[in-house]
């Protein structure tokens, strides 16, 4: 036989645990699911456009986010958002480790739900281990079948939920089940069903360990002051290592006398770990910092009546008895960068003009001589109404004395919401001898109803080549 290409997966059957971090995780999970599944159903009143609060309308090239309508020209906002997301990840990772992995990552959230379903159907860890070891019979078939069916159902709900962001949600649901939705909707929903089922149901921790790039580069952002889920080796092991609470080692005092640490080697922290590692071996690449082992250990310590925190959020510095420094050049730098990028993004969104206007001078030919001795330049003025009401526009030319604007026979420039058009404009100017070959001028675009600030766009007038 040839060597295997990779190590075969050892199935992990995590035990459930309750505690403060489990509650926090469950709270975040409920919130995240609530937002993800319910947001497309939130209705929103607009003067024009869809009545859905969040809608990414690809065919119309408009993204609706509550009262904000985003156009393709605003794509650089996405760069800002991604920068903030990346910096936030670095910032948080520098301070508190893989917080994103443990509490917010889709993989963690969906795996959590899948494990919950698994437990409801197949029972707690021992029952699941027994089930997986027993030969195929009706019970195993039924339980495993029900588990996978429930997983597929959640996966499909996820796929469909995602699709609802790209079309009117009620219409999309109706069209989807009557077979009238667009092909892309079925493909997207199908693909997401498949990936959700595979990643959260079958691959699980392998996604974090082998596939996820964030997992890898978050690990290198740690330093000695980063908060990590850590086992207090000094307290847990003592001089003579850990020990089960057998006859002479029942009380803490007796153990300390015998040189045995506080860890009673119950293995609960290992059993609850969703990635199947032993936190007592120290910081490991697989650890997603979900803190469930903290809950597990705290439960045991409470039962023993000993202080909590044998496994806790702490830094390597603190474990060595030094102070944890949060105010480092790295964290301050990332924090500052987040504030700057965030400020720029907000400023850019708030100062977005109601009207997108671009003037391009016609260059073939650059200028022509007119019968009355003046020189004429032509321009194409591209307008895009980004407001939610119609604009009645007037175009003027400013900044050049004696320049005459000619729009031909066009009188009314009325733009409906999100309408785009190109206006052909000509400017005539009688040059005095000695004029430079280029003269600056501006086009002033005014709403006749005064609903927006006059927009001025700089251009130039060419008199000679």
């Amino acid at each position: 036989m040839s060597q295997p290409m990779y190590e075969a997966r050892v199935p992990i059957h995590p035990r459930s645990v309750s505690g403060r971090f489990r509650n926090l995780k469950s709270g975040i999970l409920v919130l995240a699911y609530g937002v993800f599944f319910l947001l497309p159903w939130l209705r929103w009143e607009r003067e024009t456009g869809p009545s859905q609060a969040v809608l990414f309308d690809i065919p119309a090239r408009q993204f609706y986010l509550f009262d904000l309508v985003v156009y393709p020209q605003d794509i650089f906002w996405l760069a800002g958002l991604l920068m903030i997301a990346a910096l936030l990840l670095f910032f948080v990772t520098g301070i508190a480790g893989r917080v994103f992995c443990g509490y917010f990552c889709f993989q963690t959230l969906w795996t959590d739900v899948y494990m919950f379903l698994e437990r409801r159907i197949q029972g707690e860890r021992p029952a699941r281990i027994r089930l997986s070891n027993q030969p195929w019979n009706t019970e195993k078939l039924l339980k495993l079948g029900a588990t996978h069916a429930s997983w597929l159902l959640v996966a499909f709900a996820t796929g469909l939920g995602f699709v609802l962001y790209w079309a009117d949600a009620p219409t999309m649901v109706r069209d989807f089940f009557t077979g009238q939705a667009a092909g892309a909707a079925y493909i997207t929903a199908g693909l997401l069903t498949l990936t959700t089922y595979t990643f959260a149901g079958l691959a699980r921790e392998q996604v974090c360990t082998y596939m996820c790039p964030y997992a890898r580069f978050q690990s290198v952002m740690f330093d000695r002051d980063t908060l990590i889920v850590s086992y207090d080796q000094a307290r847990g092991e003592g001089a003579a290592g850990r020990g089960k609470p057998v006859r002479d080692l029942k009380t803490r005092e007796a153990r300390q006398q015998a040189g045995v640490g506080d860890c009673i080697d119950c293995g609960y922290c290992v059993q609850v770990c969703p990635t199947g590692i032993d936190i007592r071996n120290g910081l490991q690449i697989e650890c997603i910092h979900c803190a469930l082992c903290i809950d597990a250990c705290d439960t045991i310590m409470d039962k023993q009546g000993w202080p909590r925190g044998l496994i806790r959020y702490t830094s390597e510095s603190a474990l060595e008895g030094k102070k944890t420094r949060f105010l480092k050049l790295k964290t301050v730098g990332y924090g500052l960068a987040i504030l700057i990028v965030g400020g720029l993004l907000v400023a850019s969104v708030l100062s977005r003009p109601a009207l997108d206007a671009n003037v391009s001078q016609v260059r073939q030919p650059l200028f022509v001589q007119m019968g009355d001795g003046s020189t004429q330049n032509s321009y194409e003025i591209a307008l895009n109404n980004k407001t939610q009401h119609s604009l009645d526009l007037e175009i003027r030319v400013a900044g050049l004395e004696g320049a005459v604007l000619d729009l031909g026979r066009v009188e009314d420039i009325i733009l409906e919401p999100s309408q785009r058009t190109t206006v052909l404009a000509r400017v005539r100017y009688t040059a005095s001898p000695g004029s430079p070959s280029r003269l600056p001028l501006e086009f002033e675009i005014v709403d006749r109803e005064g609903s927006m600030e006059p927009l001025r766009i700089g251009s130039q007038l060419s008199l000679r080549p």
């Binding site: 040839s2 060597q3 066009v410 190109t422 052909l424 000509r426």
Partner: protein, 309 residues
């Protein structure tokens, strides 16, 4: 011959094929990784599906057509062929979303009166976008891409100087019927000095300070029996667009490169040479090459270029 009894560094790790030659010559058996093998099988399945759907195998002088078909209109008939990109393009141009939208806009614009069309921002925006292509196909070879023309050869369509009239009706007529422009050569009827006098007169009409005697003499030739220029260009040299005779007093030079001349002497020489030679030009008729709608769009476009009347 090798005498190595144990070719494998780690015995038992790698299987051999089981064949032995010359008592100890064996062959390693390194099968392909499983994932690679399945990937290979997947490409085989892909190929099979592809062969069924698309043209694939040469058979004699022909080839297997595949079951995938394209239906499109050809010369008024519905044609169904095997899948090929040329038919795909034809179908896209007939029933593609953008093509249909463009046809709708064309019909809409084609049904508009010029008065309404020229005043409608949205329609003119379409005219500008669509006609750029049509102009590039049919007109730009002579009039240049932006309609700027070439001095001495092809008229500039961007100024307000019109040979045959700049109203929509006249522009459409020019497009539909074409034009024949003709200015006779004066090499027989005028001598060198007279040609220079006429040239001086015409230049003086455009604001150039010329020799008064020459101008007076030239004016007599222009408006008299000898030259007879007034018959086409008019007594005030304002032109006559029914004849295609240009205005000679607005300092716009379509045929003689006066702006490019260095001094008066050269200007006179250039104009005189032109009158000496005359010119004959032709604008082809497009009635049988363009549809009425396309002519309408191009007319509106040319009218909007800068000098429509």
């Amino acid at each position: 011959m090798s005498t190595n009894e144990n070719p494998s560094k780690k015995p038992g790790q790698v299987e051999t094929t089981g064949h032995v030659w010359d008592s100890n010559l064996q062959e390693y058996n390194n099968p392909l990784p499983r994932w690679w093998l399945w990937g290979f099988y997947a490409t085989v399945v892909f190929a099979l599906v592809y062969w069924v759907l698309y043209p694939a195998w040469p058979v004699g002088g022909s080839f297997t057509k595949g079951v995938n078909t394209i239906t499109f209109m050809q010369d008024g008939e519905e044609v169904t062929t095997h899948w090929n990109t040329r038919s795909l393009f034809a179908r896209e141009m007939q029933s593609g979303k953008q093509a249909v939208r463009q046809r709708e806009m064309l019909e809409q614009v084609g049904a508009m009166e010029y008065e309404t069309l020229l005043a409608d921002v949205e329609a003119m925006s379409f005219v500008n976008a669509y006609a750029k292509g049509a102009f590039g196909t049919w007109c730009a070879a002579c009039h240049q891409t932006g309609g700027g023309g070439v001095i001495g050869q092809y008229p500039n369509l961007r100024d307000d100087h019109w040979l045959w009239g700049g109203t929509t009706e006249r522009i459409e007529e020019t497009l539909v019927l074409g034009r024949n422009g003709y200015m006779p050569a004066y090499r027989e009827s005028l001598d060198g000095q007279q040609l220079e006098q006429v040239a001086s007169y015409v230049l003086s009409l455009n604001g150039f300070a010329m020799n008064d005697t020459d101008v007076a003499a030239g004016g007599e030739i222009f408006n008299g029996y000898l030259g007879g220029c007034y018959q086409c260009h008019g007594a005030d040299a304002a032109g006559l667009d029914s004849q295609g005779a240009p205005n000679l007093s607005n300092n716009i030079w379509g045929l003689v490169d006066v702006p490019g001349a260095a001094n008066d002497e050269e200007r006179v020489a250039r104009v005189a040479r032109f009158v000496h030679q005359g010119v004959q030009r032709q604008m082809p008729a497009f009635a049988d090459r363009l549809s009425p709608t396309e002519i309408r769009v191009l007319t509106a476009y040319v009218h909007s270029l800068g000098g429509g009347q």
